[in-house]
């Protein structure tokens, strides 16, 4: 009788284990951390994710028929950024010796960007001693995209960047003052300040710098992520982000910044 009982238990156990394996193993199997050194900017390297990134012209964004004045500003931004890539990339962060800085580039119209913003925010609160995130906006998709980016950066000045993005997760962005006022209330920021900031020179400059960085790193689209000295283009799993963070912590990322 005991023998029978045991065999029944074993069978049930095997079924459960099999099901669990079926559910979990595929997600554990693939994904190798493959990195490729970049020629420019020097010292940085790229996370090679499948075949998505190659073969594009680094682009300039939609609907940009630049005037000479705008072109000059862009050139200035490019020079400014190239002089000190790290401060442009991780500006405003002062990472402790144990922290790895990350720069996230996102666009309001890009579906995965929203997910990435949320994930990075979660990761930051989970391991604040290991990472610090600098938020960049890379509005590539026309006027609304631009306005949403300005609003996001204005929200960032009041410490509500992530809240802003989450608030817009499934609802469309509107540029009207009434909408911005309501949105400010929702995410707990001062709406007057938000609207003034949106049109400020600092935010214009911040956007120019982010765009210049995108050119320096030859991003083809959004989302984009720089972790220490590793460049990631497009969607990436949490697991890989964590691995890269560990790698950066082990190998150190500061050399590249003092060099650049």
């Amino acid at each position: 009788m005991d023998c029978k009982k045991r065999s029944t238990l074993l069978t049930i156990g095997a079924i459960i284990a099999g099901y669990a394996a079926l559910r979990t193993v595929p997600s554990l199997l693939p994904e190798k951390l493959e990195l490729q050194a970049l020629d420019r900017p020097e010292g940085f390297r790229k996370f090679v994710a499948g075949e998505t990134s190659g073969g594009f012209d680094p682009f300039v964004g939609l609907g940009t028929a630049d005037s000479t004045e705008v072109a000059a500003q862009k050139a200035a931004a490019l020079t400014r950024v190239s002089e000190n890539i790290c401060s442009a990339l991780y500006g405003g962060l002062s990472p402790t010796p144990t922290q790895v800085p990350m720069a996230s580039f996102s666009d309001y119209y890009c579906p995965f960007c929203r997910v990435q913003t949320k994930r990075l925010a979660d990761m930051t609160s989970e391991m604040p001693d290991k990472i610090a995130v600098a938020w960049h906006e890379l509005p590539l998709l026309g006027d609304s995209s631009n306005l949403a980016a300005k609003a996001a950066l204005a929200a960032k000045r009041q410490g509500a960047y992530v809240a802003f993005h989450e608030r817009l997760m499934t609802t469309p962005f509107q540029a009207s003052p009434e909408y911005l006022a309501r949105l400010s209330d929702d995410i707990g920021v001062d709406s007057k300040k938000l609207i003034t900031d949106m049109e400020s020179a600092e935010i214009t400059r911040e956007l120019e710098d982010s765009a210049a960085l995108a050119r320096v790193f030859a991003f083809v689209g959004t989302p984009a992520l720089v972790i220490g000295r590793t460049v990631v283009q497009g969607q990436i799993s949490d697991r890989m982000v964590r691995e890269i963070i560990e790698l950066e912590r082990e190998e150190g990322w500061r050399d590249v910044c003092t060099a650049a």
């Binding site: 594009f56 579906p111 995965f112 499934t170």
Partner: protein, 708 residues
């Protein structure tokens, strides 16, 4: 015939085709150039401008063009309404000569879902037909198209490029391009006059915050989808689409994620296997009810097996739920009482109990299939909304409790015993069967966590699914009986009768009494206090009548039947229909259920917590006292930042039933949180934990992240 040949030949490239056509001397005039632009190409997309005509014929005032797009593997592009995010392709024709206007046509889109975000667009190959009008008929056309489009795979890459195409005077047809343009022009949704699909009603369901679309078709619908367009400020979630039996009538409910009164001129596009329609719509505010079951109840065998396993487990767990445990106890006492039973008799007894469980479950399944068939929306536990049912249950349980406390012995009427013949065993079997039946009936309000899933699945599935899953549920519930039936020796392991049995009896009686008290509480909710008092009085009379030993047989019987009869009719007649005043006290932070209000408040940026509960739902009560009415959840709900809404399903309520159905739930407890961060709601598990509630509130409100 010719077309077919040219198709084959065209695989070899344009030259053999042109050579072939040239030899045949058909169509070809002096313009021997393929009418297409240079191509813009990268891994995400290859784009060309193509023309059906090689040249502009004399007097031609228009020309058919197309933007031929071929998206790379894994890349997607967008429709004119891209969905919640994304961007539609756009063409700027500045710099073209002799072009009066160019209208871009949009073939029927596909729906993509990624990270919970709905998008509409294309993948693979698509041609966006362009209807171009000329300034001067018959004159050459020079096209300069500045195309901007967004493609997304794991990364979103925008493209901004220029394509040019010159069409001189001439009369040739580029068969290949013409065919491609024609193919995709056919896929452009038809106007209402040219379609056999008729959109009969589009209603704004303010209560559910959804758009309801009704349509009919002469030919049956196949793979159908519905895309409402209200301009960029209004977005929708995933539609719930249902078809009638012969698939010619469609009902769709599309949840609204973002809404504004100042929306654009609305239209609805319905796409089907090989046809589509776009029709301008007039909104009404009178939503028709969901008439049919879900359109695509495709369920794989594996899934049925998995859910059946869950149902089995759920049934097993129900045995230890407070509503069933007492019945199991009745059974065990009966065994303790009768010692010296033969092995065979014990086995059969328990088998009959198991059969009783299964019988009820099967009856329930059959009833559900029938209700499903006639189109009634059904829920688990709703039998407790029926005062007559609750009354009967209350009386049965109260009488059993009295019996356990020794008020009287239940004996079958002598006549019945006689009829059942000398075999006393048979009477025993009937009571065994009744025990099983009772256990199953009592189990229904304890919608254990596993059960919700299984029953939801069964109700959305086919009749066979319902049967399989309910059988699994019944087997789970009957497992304790089956185990004893398989090994009657186990009964002998039970301790010998003695004084302790009295104790057990009192304990079990206590449990039953508690169950009866709970049923009475339910009765107060369902039928009102007066009816409940009346019925408890009748039950008391019943018990007293049964327990007076010297009473005349006939009088006793008359009194007992009268009690049952009066109770049943009393429950039906005296139940007070109005219940609004019951339960909800004025100072409570719980507000009344009003689905429309939820959407409005969410669009105003507020967070809403909805608790669907009922007096008969024990798990709901547990959630309430262990989580919802305790800090920190209570503090959060009362804090003013969250609107707490309670939907009381103690009595039947169409609004609530539909609300549940919208989230694929058929039983309660059901708790869901809406907010700016989750306009379509975060459904919580059946058994709540403070952490789960707080997390959901955080995610929905977004507020907490701001303070981090």
């Amino acid at each position: 015939m010719l077309i077919q040949m040219t198709v084959r030949v065209s695989h070899l490239g344009a030259w053999p085709l042109l050579f072939f056509l040239g030899c045949m001397g058909i169509f070809l005039s002096d313009a021997v150039k393929a009418a297409e632009s240079e191509s813009f190409s990268n891994p995400a997309v290859t784009a060309r401008l193509i023309s059906a005509e090689d040249g502009i014929a004399p007097d031609a005032a228009s020309v058919s063009l197309g933007l031929a797009l071929e998206y790379g593997e894994g890349w997607k592009g967008y429709w004119r309404t891209p969905g919640e995010v994304g961007l539609a392709p756009a063409i700027d024709w500045t710099g073209s000569t002799n072009l009066k206007s160019a209208e871009l046509l949009w073939p029927a889109p596909e729906r993509f879902e990624a990270f919970g975000i709905e998008n509409f667009g294309y993948s693979g190959r698509v041609v966006l037909p362009i209807r171009a009008r000329l300034e001067d008929a018959g004159h050459p056309l020079e096209l300069r198209a500045r195309v901007s489009l967004l493609t997304c795979s794991t990364v979103c890459v925008p493209h901004d490029f220029e394509l040019s195409l010159a069409l001189p005077q001439g009369i040739g047809i580029d068969t290949n391009s013409a065919r491609q343009i024609a193919t995709y022009a056919d896929r452009v949704p038809a106007v209402p006059e040219n379609s056999d699909i008729r959109i009969s009603v589009t209603a704004l369901d303010a209560r559910d915050s959804a758009l309801i679309v009704l349509a009919t078709s002469d030919t049956p619908f196949g793979e159908v989808d519905v895309f409402p367009e209200f301009g960029p400020l209004v977005t929708f979630g995933k539609p719930d689409i249902r078809l009638d039996r012969d698939r010619t009538e469609l009902w769709a409910q599309i949840p609204i994620n973002a809404w504004t009164e100042e929306h654009a001129e609305p239209s609805v596009t319905i796409t089907d296997t090989a046809r589509a329609i776009t029709a301008p719509i007039t909104l009404t505010s009178d939503p028709p009810a969901p008439p049919f079951s879900s359109a695509n109840p495709r369920t794989s065998l594996l899934k049925v097996v998995a859910v059946a396993a869950i149902a089995f487990l759920g049934g097993l767990i129900l045995n230890v739920m407070p509503c069933v445990l007492p019945v199991l106890s009745i059974k065990l006492t009966s065994v303790l009482k009768v010692t010296g039973q033969t092995r065979q008799m014990t086995r059969n007894g328990f088998l009959f109990s198991a059969l009783g469980v299964l019988t009820f479950v099967w009856a329930l399944a059959a009833a559900l299939v029938f209700l499903q068939w006639i189109g009634v929306s059904v829920g688990w536990g709703i039998q407790f909304q029926n005062p007559v049912f609750v009354t009967l249950m209350f009386m049965v349980i109260a009488v059993f409790a009295a019996n356990l406390f020794g008020a009287f012995e239940i004996t079958l009427p002598a006549a019945l015993q006689d009829r059942l013949g000398a075999s006393n065993a048979r009477a025993e079997y009937i009571s065994d069967f009744g025990t099983g039946l009772l256990a199953a009936i009592l189990a229904t309000p304890c919608s254990a966590p596993f059960l919700g899933t299984a029953i939801t699945f069964a109700l959305a599935g086919t009749q066979l699914d319902v049967m399989v899953i309910f059988t699994a549920l019944g087997l789970g519930l009957a497992l304790p009986y089956l185990v004893i039936a398989a090994r009657p020796e186990l009964v002998t392991r039970l301790p010998r009768p003695g004084r302790w049995m009295l104790l057990v009896r009192i304990l079990l009686g206590g449990l039953l009494l508690a169950t009866a008290a709970w049923l009475l509480f339910v009765l107060v909710g369902v039928a009102g206090g007066r009816a409940a008092a009346f019925i408890s009085a009748l039950t008391a009379v019943f018990i007293v009548a049964a327990s007076i030993p010297q009473a005349n047989q006939w009088v006793r019987r008359a009194v007992l039947s009268a009690c049952v009869f009066l109770a049943i009719f009393g429950a039906g007649l005296t139940s007070t229909p109005d219940r609004t005043t019951a339960g909800v006290d004025a100072t409570s932070h719980w507000q009344d259920f009003e689905p429309l209000g939820i959407a409005r408040r969410v669009s105003e940026g507020e967070t809403v917590f909805v608790d669907v509960t009922a007096d008969w739902c024990l798990t709901c009560k547990a959630n309430k006292s262990l989580v919802l009415d305790r800090d920190p959840v209570r503090a959060r709900l009362r804090g003013g930042f969250v609107i707490a809404i309670q939907a009381d399903w103690t009595r039947p309520d169409d609004n609530i039933a539909r609300f549940l159905e919208r989230y694929d739930r058929y039983g309660i407890p059901f708790n869901i949180v809406f907010g700016p961060g989750s306009p379509s709601g975060i459904a919580l598990p059946e058994i709540l934990t403070p952490q789960a509630v707080l997390d959901a509130l955080d995610t929905a409100s977004v507020r907490s992240v701001a303070s981090e």
